[in-house]
Symmetry: C2
Subunit: 451 residues, 2 copies
Amino acid sequence: MQFELTKEYLEHLNGAVENGQQAELDILIDGLHAVDIAEILEEQTKDEAKAFYLVLPEELAADALVELDEDTRERFLKETSSADIAEKIIENLDSDDAADVIGELSEEQQDEVISHIEDIEHASDIIDLLHYDEDTAGGLMAKELVKVNINSNVATCIKEIRDQSEEIENIFTVYVVDDNDLLQGRISLKKLLLAPDNNKVEDVYTKELKLVKVDSEGEEVAQIMDKYNLVVVPVIDEIGRLLGRITIDDVVDFMREESDKDYQMASGISENVESSDSAWVLTRARLPWLLIGLFGGILGAQVIEAYEGQIQLHPETAFFIPLIAAMAGNVGVQSSAIVVQGLANNSLGLDGIWKKLFKELLVGLINGLVLGSLIFAYNYFFSEDLTLSIIVSTSLFAVIVFAAIFGTLVPLMLDKYKIDPALATGPFITTVNDVFGLFLYLYIGYLMYSV
Amino acid sequence: MQFELTKEYLEHLNGAVENGQQAELDILIDGLHAVDIAEILEEQTKDEAKAFYLVLPEELAADALVELDEDTRERFLKETSSADIAEKIIENLDSDDAADVIGELSEEQQDEVISHIEDIEHASDIIDLLHYDEDTAGGLMAKELVKVNINSNVATCIKEIRDQSEEIENIFTVYVVDDNDLLQGRISLKKLLLAPDNNKVEDVYTKELKLVKVDSEGEEVAQIMDKYNLVVVPVIDEIGRLLGRITIDDVVDFMREESDKDYQMASGISENVESSDSAWVLTRARLPWLLIGLFGGILGAQVIEAYEGQIQLHPETAFFIPLIAAMAGNVGVQSSAIVVQGLANNSLGLDGIWKKLFKELLVGLINGLVLGSLIFAYNYFFSEDLTLSIIVSTSLFAVIVFAAIFGTLVPLMLDKYKIDPALATGPFITTVNDVFGLFLYLYIGYLMYSV
């Protein structure tokens, strides 16, 4: 059902390419999707990939190029002449993919490639799309769509759809515009098929239509399409003219990128990396958060140093340092994760910030009471040291409540000031809570021992 | 563009419902999507929601019910008679949504509701769907689809599509089957519109088609649709008969649930919760991981206790306990997150386990060297204590390398034994690395001080 790439397959394929066995090759790639081809190209060595790419059918090769990792695609484009990029790749792609590919080239080469595109309409679509920021609706949309005039009748309409649809892979929805190209609504193919030929479009179209403005953020587009289960959404300009359409496949990628990013932030990874990236890229993505952790650790060391005398007198205080620090971190991460996910899913509801903090306080109090009692019982029965039992349990309680509130407050604040709340998750919140938790613990110890 | 629910709107709406101002109400809900209605119902009190639901247009009300949280939907269904559920809700829904709603009722009530459905075909579709596990392709699919016989010609085909499409909201793809209902391929509406009337389907259809088997896991369906950018995928039975189709909107929810779950696991939350859930539900979801953390903290306390004498002699050793524990945790979380995400995205590539571990070793070595040198420099210049500097930096180095390897190995192992690798992220890996890191640190201290 789904293509599975194995080492044996790859060897077989490389052999067929190397020996020019076209018939063998045709069998091997029969039924493969561009995504599969891209997967193969990523796994091949540079030379193998180059040889394989050259023997692929032109359209499949162009589609596979779009599916490649940015780095690999750059490598391929570098080895292809501008004329070949225009004729073999760009001409075979929809305007949105074509613009994405061209957008990755240098300004100079962009002009060169565009000058080689023979289909003038295609070239002008691409030039239009290159103006938009790639993370906005304009950057995500394709110009290819089917539209009909609101004043035409069903028969003209079907004829027009036949003409327009030749270059479009999936129609999905037919848009209805007025004489000024202002978007009026949509008409489903089903309705067109069912309506009598002489009906006016005006009488059968649907006004109800979700749409996005060309300067909307990609995230907003993804949210609307997700919320309303849309497969395709039209894009309009400032005065309501129909510019293009965005299909869900472009936005699914966007949604995944967003949630991947949040996940990586929560795990202390600062760049979008994959397990298959080089050790160097992986290290670079991980060091920043580790440095924050190191800095926090040094602060923690200074806090403890301030209580050196106390630890020498009561070394048992040191036993529970990791417990306090770990619990502070864990609770903070939980609280911030719930807020960050709520913000991402738009599911925080109408409750104000105070109500949320109050609920988090309640959660913190329950968790703090349960865990504080458990650790009290453990210490009381195993160490039989009442003072230590009180110090550890009361400070664990206080630390949990503080960490819960702090973990909720920080991402809400960041979001209020338009900073990505995911920044507050992971190592950052852990580190802050660690240091503050330590201080609280040792200070409560100081108070208890000086009674 | 997108409906935004405000307190003012809600008050306005509740007033209109209470006072029976139908005209006012029509204006207020004009253009609202079922998703928006569901959002309103979730924010209203029980009585307000009940009153509002009763004055909604029947079809909108049915669609909104599908979009509600499971708990809220259960509340509504409890207050509705079986006859009303059948006639007002089920008759207005597609078979997949209808089956999902009925599937949430008790066995007894299921039979009662089904006996009230007047459309026999609809009822039998629902009964078919109820047999499938809700997380499999069978549970996700709808029975409504458009199919044509491979032996018919384009004109018959278009006529048939008109007949079949009356009850289907979006056609997307027309499936081609043989006389035994075995799936042969697909034919796009575009091709049908462009082909001459007397062409045979056989000559214009596309054999190339991604499909899923009825017993495939939901996750697998989501993966295929995501990988191949599919909007809709057909479902076949064991011998290849066409049973239904799955549209991407059902799978987008599935994909989000999966990634939400991974994120929550990494943050130490054991159930699928939302910020708007009650304090009790939130506490229940968080306590399990905190208990693991508490247990780890107690283990850590015992490790330190074993070195009590050493801490009394050299209390400066205690200063760096939180640093070592925190770094061990952070590195472990980073490593496991990269593996978990790679497994989820299917982007781990063909490298074997040893190659991955070797790369992780390299990353750990670089990070360990950088951070170990930094902490050595800090300690050497600020504490001027060479022994302590050596103990802290060598153990930080060792702990980072160990945590990186361990964080990579555990999720890979879990995945190999078909256990959710996300279990290995978050508090679990942090806790294990904490305890082991502490032991390593204190043991290295013991070795150094006893020289």
